[in-house]
């Protein structure tokens, strides 16, 4: 039987934890300083948005914003554009991703390269090129507002490719699409059945993520809409900044809330462990 000596181990344990404590201190410092950097502008904007009525804190700026004659038209136009782009993108990307995974794997590097092109072509360069290519006969697409709108939606669809493809691709990989397809085939299912009962149900989360990302990109997009003379939400917001005093702050908060809703939904539906 030895007599143990408790006091000394206690001190040494604390000494052992000291380096960890020191790094934790710096971690807090970093977090607080960066949190300030990110939260102060948002807070200041929010504060501004509440001061539309003199000496009173209220939501007057928001009321004025939502009552503005151009707010809802431009917002709805953007939403419709976004939905169209999402639809188009899904229609193109899902078969492509599926094909490239199962039937033409050799084409994968080419397809992946093309989906990366929107990162290589800045929006302003893309609209520049689109205008030059489709701005004059024989490929005139910019003659009317509506035909330009079609061009806009197509451009947005192309811009969504990197996010949509990566989303769907990850989804296909996560569900091990090859094994599932082969199992379904061995049980006698044809392609339509496989797509309907096996592929799409398991891709729901991936499709939703891709759609939400595309939505977030399209809804406030400025550059392409501006040069295609479209009256969507982006140019509307830009105009607002130059013409009104308080409404832009409300608009910024609304935009932030929208983006947060989209990203938050993605985070929620892609939480690991949830069955698709």
């Amino acid at each position: 039987m030895t007599i143990s000596a408790p006091p000394i181990p206690v001190i040494e344990t604390e000494a052992e934890q000291a380096p960890a404590k020191r790094s934790r201190f710096w971690a807090w410092v970093i977090l607080i300083i960066t949190a300030l950097y990110f939260l102060v502008p948002l807070g200041a904007t929010f504060y501004w948005s509440l001061r539309a009525e003199a000496d009173k804190l209220g939501f007057e700026a928001y009321r004025r914003l939502f009552a503005d004659s151009n707010f809802w038209p431009s917002f709805t136009e953007s939403v419709i554009n976004a939905i169209a782009a999402i639809f188009l993108s899904l229609l193109i990307i899902v078969p492509t991703a599926y094909w490239v995974t199962l039937r033409l794997p050799k084409l994968r590097p080419v397809v992946e390269f093309i989906t990366l092109l929107p990162f290589v072509i800045p929006a302003v360069v893309l609209v520049f090129a689109l205008l030059r290519l489709y701005g004059r006969p024989p490929l005139l697409l910019t003659a009317t507002y509506d035909s330009s709108r079609v061009l806009l939606v197509c451009a947005y669809t192309a811009l969504s490719f990197p996010y949509m493809f990566r989303s769907v691709d990850n989804g296909l990989r996560a569900m091990d699409v090859r094994s599932l397809t082969e199992a379904a085939q061995s049980l006698g299912a044809g392609w339509p059945t496989i797509l309907r009962r096996v592929i799409f149900p398991n891709l729901r989360v991936a499709l939703l993520s891709g759609a939400l990302l595309t939505f977030a990109i399209v809804i406030g997009e400025l550059t392409i809409a501006l040069f295609l003379a479209q009256q969507t939400f982006g140019p509307y917001m830009a105009n607002l900044t130059r013409s009104k005093v308080y409404e832009p702050s409300a608009m910024a908060i609304v935009a932030f809330a929208l983006t947060w809703a989209a990203m938050g939904t993605i985070a929620l539906i892609t939480r690991p462990g949830k069955r698709g």
């Binding site: 380096p19 790094s23 934790r24 971690a27 807090w28 970093i30 977090l31 960066t34 950097y37 990110f38 102060v40 502008p41 200041a44 904007t45 504060y47 501004w48 193109i92 990307i93 078969p95 492509t96 039937r103 033409l104 397809v111 093309i114 990366l116 092109l117 929107p118 290589v120 072509i121 800045p122 302003v124 360069v125 520049f128 090129a129 689109l130 030059r132 290519l133 197509c154 451009a155 669809t157 192309a158 490719f161 977030a216 406030g220 400025l222 550059t223 501006l226 982006g234 917001m237 830009a238 900044t241 832009p248 702050s249 608009m251 910024a252 935009a255 932030f256 983006t259 990203m263 985070a267």
Partner: protein, 288 residues
């Protein structure tokens, strides 16, 4: 019982699924760029020439490229460093767990929060009548009087960091996760102090990821248009703004040059994406 027949070499059905993709990309991604490239090589009389590229030494163009490169480098390095420390803080710095998922979600939002709303938010914060400007005035400091202005190189830098830092965080968090605890323990077991471990093992392993993402950040800032436009109108001579002006009206008095400037941007972006991919692949090899 039909015997197996060798399928024809080219089956239309095999390619059906990817045709829409290639057609669409051709029309709206590849086609336009090819046209740009072609027109950039077009001389005034219709022949092919490199003159437009030679004209890139035009002072306006050089200045715009220079400014864009400088601001992209600044925000890439600053954003990269701050983003790295922030990612470290929430993953290995001993902070409570909820901060990490909170930061991840916030980073997803903030990295997409570019353009008009972001510019507006900072105008309300650091603009001439912004809340923080007012706060400084309250304690007697007139930052605009002292020469600061949001509508400048440094002002734009501050604004750009709002989406650069989160982008760095988003890419680096998985990389930091890839730092196996075993490596730290093995280093400790062999006698290394935490500093030695970071210097000899962790940082070298993370370097491709850090560098690669900084390059991604560079490209991100270089190609940004909406935020700069919303914040400064046309005040700053950035390459993207220059191209925008060229679209609206031929400010360069030389259509061919406009195409060359655009292609120049594409080259720089392509280079940065290629470098990023190379470094990313190396990083994945080590961090899995």
């Amino acid at each position: 019982m039909g015997g197996a027949r060798r399928p024809p070499l080219f089956q239309f059905g095999r390619w059906l699924g990817v045709v829409p993709f290639f057609v669409f990309s051709g029309l709206f991604l590849i086609g336009p760029v090819v046209v740009l490239a072609y027109r950039s090589l077009e001389g005034p009389d219709g022949g092919l020439t490199l003159d437009n590229y030679r004209e890139l030494t035009n002072p306006t163009v050089l200045a715009s490229y220079g400014l864009s490169i400088r601001i992209s480098l600044t925000t890439a390095v600053l954003g990269g460093l701050i983003g790295f420390f922030l990612a470290w803080a929430v993953s290995m710095g001993g902070l409570p767990r909820p901060f990490r998922s909170g930061l991840t979600t916030f980073s997803g939002v903030a990295s997409n929060f570019a353009g008009v709303p972001l510019a507006a938010a900072f105008i309300f914060t650091l603009g001439r009548i912004g809340a923080i400007t007012a706060l400084f005035e309250l304690i007697g400091i007139d930052i605009y009087g002292a020469g600061f202005t949001l509508y400048s190189y440094w002002g734009l830098t501050i604004v750009y960091l709002f989406f650069q830092i989160p982008l760095m965080v988003l890419v680096l968090l998985p990389a930091l996760d890839g730092l196996k605890q075993d490596w730290r323990e093995a280093a400790e077991n062999l006698g290394a102090t935490p500093r030695q471990y970071w210097r000899r093992v962790a940082l070298p392993i993370l370097l491709p990821s850090i560098l690669g993402t900084m390059i991604l950040l560079f490209g991100n800032a270089f190609g940004a248009h909406a935020t700069a436009y919303a914040l400064t109108g046309g005040l700053l001579n950035l390459a993207t703004l220059l191209i925008g002006q060229q679209i609206s009206g031929d400010v360069l008095n030389n259509p061919g040059l406009g195409y060359a400037v655009a292609m120049g941007m594409v080259f720089i972006m392509a280079l940065s994406i290629i470098l990023y991919s190379i470094l990313q692949r190396r990083s994945e090899r080590w961090l899995g």
